[in-house]
C-alpha cells in the first residue's frame, strides 16, 4: 500500500467552512482562518514558519497554558485520544509531589520530568506524522519546547521514524533552542510507539511495552514523571499557545474541536494526507480523495448539496472504510455519513485515533482483508505476554479459516470467544485493539460471514 505524498490542499480541506477572518496579531501575523492550519508554511524552513505563524509566545505561567489547552479541548493524536491538558496537569502534579517528598526527606536532587515528542508512527497505514515532520517541523518543535517549559523540563526528546528524524534534525539545526532537543530514531514495528515502549526505548534502548501499575506521568523514564505526546498533538498545541482556545474551537464541532490530520489510503483515486475539520463526515473526506484525481480542488466544493452528490457518486465503489487503523473498526458503506468523532464511531468499534482511513473497494472481500490484517497484528506482538503470543495467532487463524470459506458454523463464536479471552490481558493494549478490530470485521461484514459459512463470498462468488 502506498500513500501518495500528496500535499494537503492549500485552501483547506472539506468540512465546515471557515470562521470569520480574525484580526492580525502583532507583527502582522494572521491566525489561520480556514481548515488549513498546520501546513501553511511555504517550505519547512524556520524562516517560512516564522513568516506565517510568528514567534512563539513565552511561557510565563505554565498553568495558564494548561488552562488554554483545557479550554481548547485538544485530545492526543497518537491513537489513544487522551485529553492533552490532563496529561500535562498530571505530570506537573506528580513532579511537584515527587520533589516535595524529596525535599522533606532531605534529598538533594529533584526529579526533573521527561518530555517526549512521539513521531514513531508504527501504524502501517499512517503517514500523517511523517508528513507533518517534513512539512511543518517547527510547529512540532515549538509545541515540544512549550510542553517542556510547562512541566519544568530543560530538555526534551523526539522519538521518531527514520524519515522524521532527518527532517527534524535539519529543522533543529536552524534554531538556537534546537540544541535542547535530542532525536532518537524509533525502530519499525507496530507496538514500538506505545507510550511505555517509548519510555523503555529511552531508558533501556529496547522498544517494547513494559509492565506498569501507575501512569507514565507519575513514573516513566528512570522513575521520572514522563510526558509523551504525539507530534501532531504538539503542533496543534503550538497553535493554541499562539492563537488561543477560542480560535482553536472556531473550526470543528463541539466535541471534536479543531482540525485533525488524516491519512486516506486504499481504494481511492488519490491516497493522501489531508487536514480536515473535526467531526467531518467520513464520506466527505473519502469523496475529496476521489475527486482530487480529476483535478478538482476539494475546497471548491463549498456547497453542501454538491458535496452530498459528489459523495454519493464517489462512494459507489466503496465497500467499507477502516477507521482508526489496525486497532480501529470497519464502517460499512451504507453508514459513511458518520462524522469522524469518537462518540459517533464508538458503535463500530472505531475511533478517530491517529486519523487513519483505509478504504476497501467493492472488489475486495472484507473478511479476507481483515484476516490478513489480523495475521499481521499477531506477528507484531512484542512476544512478551503469553496471552498475546498465543491468543492473537489463534484468533487470526480462525478468522483466516472463515475468510477461506471453511464450512464450519462454529468459527464466528470461536473468534468472539478468543477476542474476549485476550482482552485486558497484556501489558499494552495490543491484544485489546486486535480483538476489537477482529470483532468489528464480524459485525461490518455479517452478511458475508453467513455467505462464507455456506462456502460462498459476496464479492468473489
Amino acid at each position: 500500500m502506498t500513500v501518495r505524498d500528496a500535499l494537503p490542499p492549500a485552501h483547506g480541506a472539506p468540512g465546515p467552512s471557515a470562521a470569520p477572518t480574525p484580526a492580525p496579531l502583532a507583527g502582522g501575523v494572521v491566525p489561520p482562518a480556514t481548515t488549513a492550519r498546520l501546513f501553511l508554511a511555504a517550505d519547512p524552513t524556520f524562516a517560512a514558519h516564522r513568516a506565517v505563524y510568528g514567534p512563539m509566545p513565552g511561557i510565563e505561567h505554565p498553568n495558564a497554558l494548561v488552562d488554554e489547552v483545557r479550554l481548547s479541548g485538544l485530545d492526543g493524536r497518537g491513537g489513544a485520544g487522551f485529553s492533552v491538558w490532563r496529561k500535562l496537569a498530571a505530570v506537573l502534579a506528580s513532579t511537584a509531589r515527587t520533589n516535595t517528598a524529596h525535599n522533606n526527606s532531605g534529598g538533594m536532587r529533584t526529579k526533573r520530568p521527561i518530555v517526549v515528542g512521539n513521531g514513531s508512527e508504527g501504524e502501517p497505514l499512517s503517514r500523517k506524522d511523517e508528513t507533518l515532520m517534513r512539512r511543518a517541523p517547527h510547529l512540532v518543535i515549538d509545541g515540544l519546547l512549550a510542553c517542556a517549559a510547562v512541566v519544568g523540563a530543560t530538555e526534551a526528546t523526539l522519538y521518531v521514524s527514520t524519515e522524521g528524524a532527518n527532517a527534524m534534525r535539519t529543522a533543529l539545526a536552524e534554531r538556537a533552542d534546537g540544541a535542547r532537543i535530542a532525536v532518537v530514531v524509533a525502530p519499525d514495528g507496530f507496538v514500538t510507539g506505545e507510550a511505555t515502549a517509548v519510555a523503555n526505548a529511552l531508558e533501556h534502548g529496547v522498544s517494547v511495552p513494559r509492565d506498569h501499575v501507575v501512569h507514565l506521568s507519575e513514573s516513566g523514564v528512570r522513575g521520572r514523571p514522563t510526558l509523551v505526546q504525539n507530534v501532531e498533538t504538539l503542533a496543534q498545541l503550538a497553535l493554541i499557545a499562539r492563537f488561543g482556545a477560542a480560535w482553536f474551537r472556531s473550526i470543528g464541532t463541539e466535541d471534536e474541536p479543531g482540525t485533525r490530520v488524516v491519512t486516506v489510503s486504499g481504494a481511492v483515486d488519490a491516497p493522501q494526507v489531508i487536514e480536515v475539520a473535526g467531526g467531518t463526515p467520513v464520506q466527505t473526506i473519502i469523496a475529496a480523495c476521489m475527486n482530487a484525481a480529476d483535478g478538482a480542488d476539494p475546497a471548491d466544493k463549498a456547497d453542501p448539496a454538491d458535496d452530498a452528490d459528489a459523495a454519493a457518486g464517489a462512494l459507489s465503489s466503496v465497500r467499507a472504510v477502516l477507521i482508526g487503523g489496525y486497532h480501529g473498526g470497519w464502517v460499512p458503506s451504507g453508514d459513511l455519513a458518520v462524522p469522524l468523532s469518537r462518540a459517533a464511531l464508538e458503535p463500530y468499534g472505531a475511533h478517530p485515533g491517529a486519523g487513519v482511513l483505509f478504504v476497501l473497494g467493492t472488489g475486495g472481500c472484507g473478511l479476507e482483508t481483515s484476516a490478513n490484517i489480523a495475521a499481521y497484528l499477531a506477528g507484531q506482538s512484542a512476544r512478551q505476554c503469553g496471552v498475546c503470543v498465543n491468543g492473537l495467532p489463534a484468533m487470526a487463524d480462525v478468522l483466516s479459516r472463515l475468510a477461506a470459506r471453511h464450512r464450519d458454523a462454529r468459527l464466528p463464536a470461536e473468534i468472539v470467544r478468543l477476542a474476549e479471552l485476550v482482552t485486558g490481558r497484556g501489558s499494552c493494549s495490543h491484544p485489546d485493539g486486535t480483538a476489537r478490530f477482529v470483532l468489528s470485521s464480524l459485525t461490518a461484514f455479517q452478511t458475508d460471514v453467513r455467505a462464507h459459512l455456506e462456502g460462498r463470498c459476496e464479492v468473489y462468488g
Binding site: D211, V213, C385, G386, V387, G391, G426
Partner: protein
C-alpha cells in the same frame, strides 16, 4: 514486600497485579486463589470476572477479597517468576 506494605497501611482492599511480561503460566497462583483465578487454555491466569463490557475489563489487576489476602500474599511470594504483586485499590 508488597504484602507487608498492604498490612502496614491497613488498606481495606488490594488488587493482585499480574505482570504479563514475566508470567509464563506456571499456575501456582491459580491453585492458591482458585476462587479468583482460573487458567486459560495456555495455562495463564484468568480472572473470574462477571461479564461486564469488554472495554471495561481490567484483568491485569484482580480484586482480592479480605479473606483471601493471605493466599494472595503467598501467591506473590511463591510465584517462581515474580510476576505478581499486591497494589492498593485506587
Amino acid at each position: 514486600m508488597a504484602a507487608r506494605r498492604f498490612e502496614s497501611t491497613g488498606s481495606t482492599g488490594t488488587l493482585l497485579h499480574i505482570d504479563w511480561t514475566r508470567c509464563d503460566g506456571r499456575g501456582l497462583c491459580t491453585e492458591l486463589l482458585g476462587d479468583q483465578l482460573d487458567r486459560d487454555e495456555w495455562g495463564y491466569p484468568l480472572a473470574r470476572v462477571d461479564s461486564g463490557s469488554l472495554e471495561a475489563r481490567d484483568r491485569s489487576n484482580v480484586p482480592i477479597p479480605a479473606d483471601q489476602q493471605d493466599a494472595a500474599a503467598d501467591a506473590v511470594a511463591l510465584c517462581p517468576v515474580q510476576a505478581l504483586r499486591l497494589v492498593p485499590r485506587p
